[in-house]
């Protein structure tokens, strides 16, 4: 007599039981399994059929150019309607395939925890081309981590879908300390390799399978709309309908892997490719130059800083102020890389509102940061007073008191042999010259 996973195997379920590491290693192990199953789900015809039929039932036809958010919302609504959230069984990290959660085969368990729910919905999104990522949400060391789906809409804005809760689609995750976006396409797919692959349904599949089995899987990279491939010891670029050999840079290491830059596009080398170039294991570069706390609030041009600051408003900033107006307070002296509110604004006893922000950016001028009061334009064209109090200043440097004498050049040297000409200007000039010539010609010959 068998019990547990053995019993399930005996009943025809495919069950894999592995030792589960605790802590960060265990989280990585779960995340890897989730994204692997998510990637496999996207090529499952049953999953794609579910996604297509769900969109069709909600009147979404790809021909009317539905937005990514519209499609994500439709799939999320349908998914919530047919699944529930339940925690893992005691003492186990349970991850199940998408078709089981969606009950699209003989086996059906329409309830799971965040990992399985995310991989099922994420696999369905990927199957119809929505750019879904698995996003690990870290709420700090005292709280359990969570998994949601992250997508990027047509305008480049990120948003989050949480199938484990009833929350609406979110533009940010309140309370999150760190968000780790993991691309399912970076996981090994059906061919045992990362990257794009061709999935064919129908009779041609057997031919394709034979062809693929004879050849080494191709290593293709799509970047900025251009395909690149490393093959026969060279880098090739697909342009104007044909492949041509390109020039590759010296390999460089990043994140424990080898990369090259091919015709301006970066591509990651496989171990075999790196080996064929005589490269060993790539040095792991996982650490950043740390941020040192600055005590004198002195800021030096060209260095990267993180500024923790408390802003005090005389009105509710979430209603009265556009974020761009706040950014304008700092954009003259900072190249701003990020400017994030750490929590919603809170009311004070005096009736004002306080909100904590972190600005990361590169200083465009030497300056001494001092608390100050100013004002910004509100959306209703009035002025909102803003008090700025610097709580903490960090500089990315080997020392907390960096001594720099950075020279500010900066207008790049124009190439001496430049012969670029603007298309519009060339066309206009040629048209005007040609028109005048045409008129003169007609007057000369026709009187």
């Amino acid at each position: 007599m068998t019990f547990g996973a053995q019993s399930a195997s005996a009943s025809g379920w495919t069950v894999s039981v592995k030792p589960y590491s605790g802590g960060e290693a265990g989280i990585r192990q779960s995340l890897q399994e989730v994204t692997r199953l998510m990637r496999l789900a996207k090529d499952d015809p049953r999953i794609k059929r579910w996604a297509v039929e769900t969109l069709a039932a909600r009147g979404i036809d790809g021909r009317n150019r539905p937005s990514i958010r519209q499609q994500a919302q439709a799939l999320l609504d349908a998914f919530r309607a047919q699944t529930i959230y339940v925690p893992d069984s005691a003492g186990a990290e349970h991850v199940q395939a998408a078709h089981i959660t969606l009950c699209l085969g003989d086996q059906c368990i329409p309830g799971e925890d965040c990992e399985s729910l995310c991989l099922a919905l994420g696999g369905a999104m990927l199957s119809i081309g929505l750019p879904a990522y698995a996003v690990r949400v870290d709420y700090g060391s005292d709280y359990q981590q969570h998994l949601v789906l992250g997508l990027t809409d047509e305008t480049g804005n990120k948003f989050y879908v949480d199938p484990s809760t009833n929350k609406p689609i979110l533009d940010s995750i309140p309370g999150a300390v760190d968000l780790d976006w993991v691309d399912p396409l970076d996981q090994a797919g059906t061919l045992g390799a990362v990257g794009a692959e061709i999935v064919t349904l129908g009779a041609v599949a057997s031919m394709l399978t034979r062809r693929v089995s004879r050849e080494t899987p191709r290593k293709l990279f799509l970047s900025v709309g251009v395909w690149h491939e490393y093959r026969h010891g060279k880098w090739w670029t697909h342009s104007a309908g044909r492949w041509s050999a390109g020039l590759g840079s010296q390999p460089f290491a990043r994140g424990g892997r080898w990369w090259v830059s091919v015709d301006g596009t970066e591509a990651e080398l496989t171990e075999a490719q790196a080996g064929s170039m005589g490269l060993g294991a790539a040095p792991s570069v996982t650490t950043q130059t740390p941020y040192q706390q600055v005590t004198d609030n002195q800021v030096h041009t060209g260095l990267r800083y993180r500024l923790g600051m408390q802003l005090t408003f005389n009105q509710d900033p979430s209603i009265a102020i556009d974020t761009q107006a706040l950014l304008n307070l700092f954009s003259d002296t900072w190249f701003i890389e990020s400017f994030d509110a750490q929590a919603p604004a809170t009311a004070t006893a005096s009736g004002s509102r306080e909100q904590t922000y972190v600005l990361q950016g590169i200083a465009k001028a030497d300056q001494t940061l001092a608390d100050t009061n100013t004002s910004v334009g509100a959306v209703d064209l009035t002025r909102v007073s803003v008090g700025i109090k610097y709580l903490a200043v960090g500089v990315q440097s080997a020392t907390s008191t960096p001594a720099t004498t950075a020279i500010v050049p900066i207008s790049p040297s124009t190439p001496a042999d430049s012969n670029n000409v603007s298309f519009i200007a060339a066309s206009l000039a040629a048209a005007v010259a040609g028109g005048i010539g045409y008129s003169l010609w007609k007057r000369y010959y026709r009187g």
Binding site: S249, L303, I362, S427, A431, G435
Partner: protein, 145 residues
């Protein structure tokens, strides 16, 4: 885009592609700089100024009229970045070093010049006709005696 006998016709989309490539290379180089703890602060600050300025340019809007000057500026940044990458690599930082002059696809320039020629012929016809009509109108206009 440069280094050819025939002037290179620059479309706004060429400038956008140049910005995209440049931003990608700036980002990957900056990752290497951030990981390079041994880099002296003075060098890091000089890189920071260049990075902020060049990245600011890649994020700016592209003018449809000033394509050539923007392409010149972008190529200047690419050349300067190439110099920076070699300098940073020699300082022991793990950064990519990439050719600042990616080859233009064969025939692309000729196609663009052909497009300019078509636009010029069409424009010449319009300008010529307008000029003719204007001249005729001047002839027919009543003169003061």
């Amino acid at each position: 885009m440069a280094r050819q006998v025939l002037p290179v016709v620059v479309l706004p989309s060429d400038v956008d592609a140049l910005k995209s490539h440049l931003a990608e290379k700036l980002t990957s180089t900056d990752i290497g700089v951030q990981a390079c703890s041994a880099l002296p602060d003075a060098t890091r600050a000089e890189w920071g100024i260049f990075y902020a300025t060049a990245m600011g340019w890649t994020q700016s809007s592209t003018s449809i009229l000033a394509g050539a000057s923007q392409a010149n500026l972008g190529e200047g940044y690419e050349n300067e970045l190439f110099g920076w990458q070699k300098r940073l690599q020699s300082a022991g930082c793990a950064v990519p070093v990439s050719d600042p002059q990616p080859p233009e696809a064969p025939g692309t320039s000729l196609v663009k010049w052909a497009t300019v020629a078509v636009a010029a012929v069409a424009g010449a016809y319009v300008v010529g006709r307008v000029t003719e009509v204007a001249v005729e109108a001047l002839k027919l206009a009543p003169r003061k005696s």
